[in-house]
C-alpha cells in the first residue's frame, strides 16, 4: 500500500510536505534562530536579511522563528480537532447504524440540522461565548465537523447490519455488537482516515481564518493566521508579513489535500481504475 502511495507522485509530494511540517514543528525550539517572543529593537519591520531570513514584525520579532512555532499550532489544531470530530462522528455513526429505527432517525436529523448551519457561523457563535483560545478553537472546530464521518460510519455499519451473516451470527448466540465492532468499524476506517487527513487541512484553514480575524489563537502565541493579521495592518510596508505565513498555510493545506486524495485512490479500489 505504501508502495502504491509512493508511486503516485502527487501523493508522495503531499506526504513529503506533511513529514517536513512534522519535522519543523517538532524541531521548532532547535531550528528557530531566535526565541519567537524576543524583540530585536533595532530591527523593527525589517525585511528579509541574513540576520532575519524572513524579516521581523512590528515588534522586531523574528518571523521565521514565529512561523516555526506557528507550525506547532497548525499541527495541533489540525490533529486535535480532527480527533474530536472523528471520535464524535464514529461513535454517533456506529450508534445510529447499529440501533437503527428511532435512534437512527433522530441522529441523522441532527446531522441534517448541523449541516444546515453555516459552519463558520456556528464556530463564531460559540466563540462569542467562550474565550478565544487554542483549546476552545480546537473543541469548536471538532464539534462542528463530525457530520461527514458520522454518515460514513453509519452507512458502513448499516450495510453490515443488513447482511445475512450477522443474522446467522446472532442466531448462533454471538453478540451482534461484537460483530459490528470487529467487522464494520475496520471496514469504515479507510474512508474515515482519508476524511481525517482532508479534515486536518480544513481545520488548519479555519484556525488560520479565525486567528486572522483576531478571534482564534491569541498573540503573543504565534500562529500563521495572527501573523497575517499584522500583515494586513502593515500592508504595503512589510510584504513578508503577508506573503510568508500565507504561503506556509497554502503549502500545508496542499500537502494534506494531496496526501488525502492519494490515500483515497490507494484505499478505494473502486476509484482506482479512474
Amino acid at each position: 500500500m505504501l508502495r502504491r502511495l509512493l508511486r503516485n507522485p502527487l501523493a508522495a509530494a503531499g506526504g513529503l510536505i506533511v513529514l517536513a511540517l512534522f519535522a519543523a514543528a517538532a524541531g521548532a525550539p532547535w531550528l528557530a534562530p531566535y526565541d519567537p517572543s524576543d524583540f530585536d529593537a533595532a530591527y523593527v519591520l525589517d525585511g528579509p536579511s541574513v540576520r532575519h531570513l524572513l524579516g521581523t514584525d512590528g515588534l522586531g520579532r523574528d518571523v521565521l522563528s514565529r512561523m516555526l512555532f506557528g507550525a506547532r499550532v497548525s499541527l495541533m489544531v489540525g490533529f486535535v480537532s480532527v480527533g474530536i470530530a472523528s471520535l464524535v462522528g464514529v461513535t454517533l455513526g456506529a450508534v445510529a447504524g447499529y440501533f437503527r429505527g428511532v435512534v437512527d432517525t433522530v441522529l441523522m436529523r441532527f446531522v441534517d440540522v448541523m449541516l444546515t448551519f453555516p459552519t463558520f457561523f456556528l464556530i463564531l457563535a460559540v466563540i462569542a461565548y467562550l474565550d478565544a483560545s487554542i483549546w476552545n478553537i480546537m473543541l469548536v472546530i471538532g464539534l462542528t465537523s463530525w457530520m461527514g464521518v458520522c454518515r460514513l460510519v453509519r452507512a458502513e455499519v448499516l450495510s453490515l447490519r443488513e447482511r445475512d451473516f450477522l443474522v446467522a451470527a446472532e442466531a448462533l448466540g454471538m453478540k451482534p455488537s461484537r460483530v459490528i465492532l470487529r467487522h464494520a468499524l475496520p471496514n469504515a476506517m479507510a474512508p474515515v482516515f482519508v476524511a481525517g487527513i482532508l479534515g486536518v487541512a480544513g481545520a488548519i484553514l479555519v484556525e488560520s481564518a479565525l486567528s486572522f480575524l483576531g478571534i482564534g489563537v491569541q498573540p503573543p502565541q504565534p500562529s500563521w493566521g495572527n501573523i497575517l493579521t499584522e500583515g494586513k495592518s502593515t500592508l504595503g510596508v512589510a510584504w513578508w508579513l503577508s506573503v510568508c505565513p500565507g504561503l506556509a498555510i497554502l503549502i500545508t493545506v496542499l500537502g494534506y489535500n494531496l496526501l488525502g486524495e492519494g490515500l483515497r485512490d490507494v484505499l478505494d479500489p473502486r476509484l482506482r481504475a479512474r
Partner: protein, 324 residues
C-alpha cells in the same frame, strides 16, 4: 412533482425545529444570562431591575418553557434587541445588512457557475489535455489557498501597488457627485475584488466536481449510443451529457450554500462591506448575543431555502422526478 415538493417542504419542518433548538441550546450554554450582560454594562442597575428583566426574558422558568417562549417570539419575527448601544431590534439590523450579503453571494455564485461549468466540461471532454492539467493544478492550489490571504495579496497588488481597484467599502466617498454611468462603474470596481476572491475557492471546488461528473457521464452507455448514432462530439457533450452531468452539480450547489454564506464573514470583514457577515463579526467581538443568534438562525434558514431552490432545479432538469 407537486407532491415531491410538498414532501420536501414537510421535511423542512423538523429541520427548522432542530435548527431553532440547536440555536437555543448554544445560547443557553452561554456563561451568564443576558441579564447579567445587560446589567454588567450598567452598574447602576438595581436588584429589582434585574428581577424585572429576568421575568421579562422568562429566565425564572425551566429551560423547556424558555425554549417555548423563545420559539414563540421567533415565529412572530421577534429576534430580540441588540445589546449594542443603539438597542435596535435584531431583525432590523439584519434586514439592513442581508440584501448586501445576498447580492454578493448571488454574484459569487453566478461567477462560480459561469466559469466552473465551462471549465469542467472542457477538461472532461479533453481529459489529460494541457487545459485539463492546468485546471487540475489550479484546482489543487485554489483549494488550498486561504481566501483571506489571497484577499490580502490582491489588496496589496491592485490596491496599494497598482492603485487600480478600491479595497474597501461598496462605493467611493465622492459617489454622490458622480454621473449615473460613473456610479455604476464605481460600484463595479468596488465589487471586483470581494466577489472575485470569494468565488475563488468555490470555483476550484466546482470545476473539479463538474469535471468528474462530466467524466462519469461520458462513460455512460447512452453516450456510446449517442456516438453510435453518428452525432458530433459537440452534440454528444452539450445535448446528451451536459444535463446529466449537471444533476449532481445542482445537489452540491445546495450543499455549498452554508459555506458560501459563512465565507461572507471573511470577505466582508476584510473589504469593509457592511453586510451580514461583517455585522456578525462585529457582534461576536462585542458579544452582542441576540444579533449573533439571529444571524446564525437566518443563515440556517437561508441554507434551507437554498436547498429548496436546488430541489426545484433538480426537478426541472430530471424528468424522472417530474411525473411522480
Amino acid at each position: 412533482m407537486l407532491s415531491y415538493l410538498a414532501k420536501r417542504l414537510a421535511g423542512f419542518v423538523p429541520l427548522l425545529l432542530g435548527i431553532s433548538f440547536v440555536s437555543f441550546l448554544v445560547m443557553a450554554m452561554a456563561p451568564g444570562t443576558p441579564v447579567d450582560l445587560m446589567t454588567d454594562l450598567n452598574p447602576k442597575a438595581s436588584p429589582e431591575a434585574r428581577e424585572r428583566l429576568e421575568k421579562f426574558y422568562g429566565l425564572d422558568q425551566p429551560l423547556y418553557v424558555q425554549y417555548g417562549l423563545w420559539l414563540g417570539r421567533i415565529v412572530q419575527g421577534d429576534l430580540g434587541t441588540s445589546f449594542s448601544r443603539d438597542r435596535r431590534p435584531v431583525l432590523d439590523k439584519i434586514a439592513e445588512a442581508l440584501p448586501i450579503t445576498l447580492f454578493l453571494n448571488v454574484l459569487d455564485l453566478a461567477l462560480i457557475l459561469g466559469l466552473a461549468i465551462p471549465i469542467g466540461i472542457y477538461s472532461a471532454a479533453r481529459q489529460y489535455s494541457l487545459v485539463d492539467r492546468a485546471t487540475t493544478v489550479f484546482v489543487f492550489i485554489g483549494f488550498a489557498m486561504p481566501s483571506f490571504w489571497v484577499a490580502l495579496l490582491a489588496m496589496m497588488l491592485f490596491g496599494e501597488q497598482l492603485g487600480w481597484l478600491p479595497i474597501s467599502g461598496l462605493r467611493s466617498l465622492d459617489y454622490d457627485s458622480m454621473s449615473a454611468l460613473g456610479q455604476i462603474g464605481d460600484r463595479v470596481r468596488h465589487l471586483i475584488l470581494p466577489v472575485g476572491i470569494a468565488a475563488l475557492t468555490g470555483l476550484a471546488g466546482l470545476s473539479r466536481y463538474m469535471r468528474s461528473s462530466m467524466l462519469e457521464v461520458l462513460r455512460q452507455d447512452y453516450i456510446q449510443t449517442a456516438r453510435a448514432k453518428g452525432l458530433s462530439e459537440t452534440v454528444v457533450v452539450y445535448r446528451h451529457a451536459l444535463r446529466n452531468a449537471l444533476l449532481p452539480v445542482v445537489t452540491i450547489l445546495g450543499l455549498s450554500i452554508p459555506g458560501l454564506i459563512g465565507g461572507s464573514v471573511i470577505a466582508e470583514t476584510i473589504f469593509a462591506i457592511p453586510g451580514m457577515g461583517r455585522l456578525f463579526y462585529t457582534s461576536v467581538l462585542m458579544r452582542d448575543y441576540p444579533v449573533v443568534m439571529g444571524i446564525t438562525l437566518i443563515g440556517a434558514v437561508l441554507t434551507l431555502l437554498g436547498n429548496l431552490l436546488a430541489d426545484l432545479m433538480y426537478v426541472a432538469v430530471d424528468p424522472r422526478l417530474r411525473k411522480r
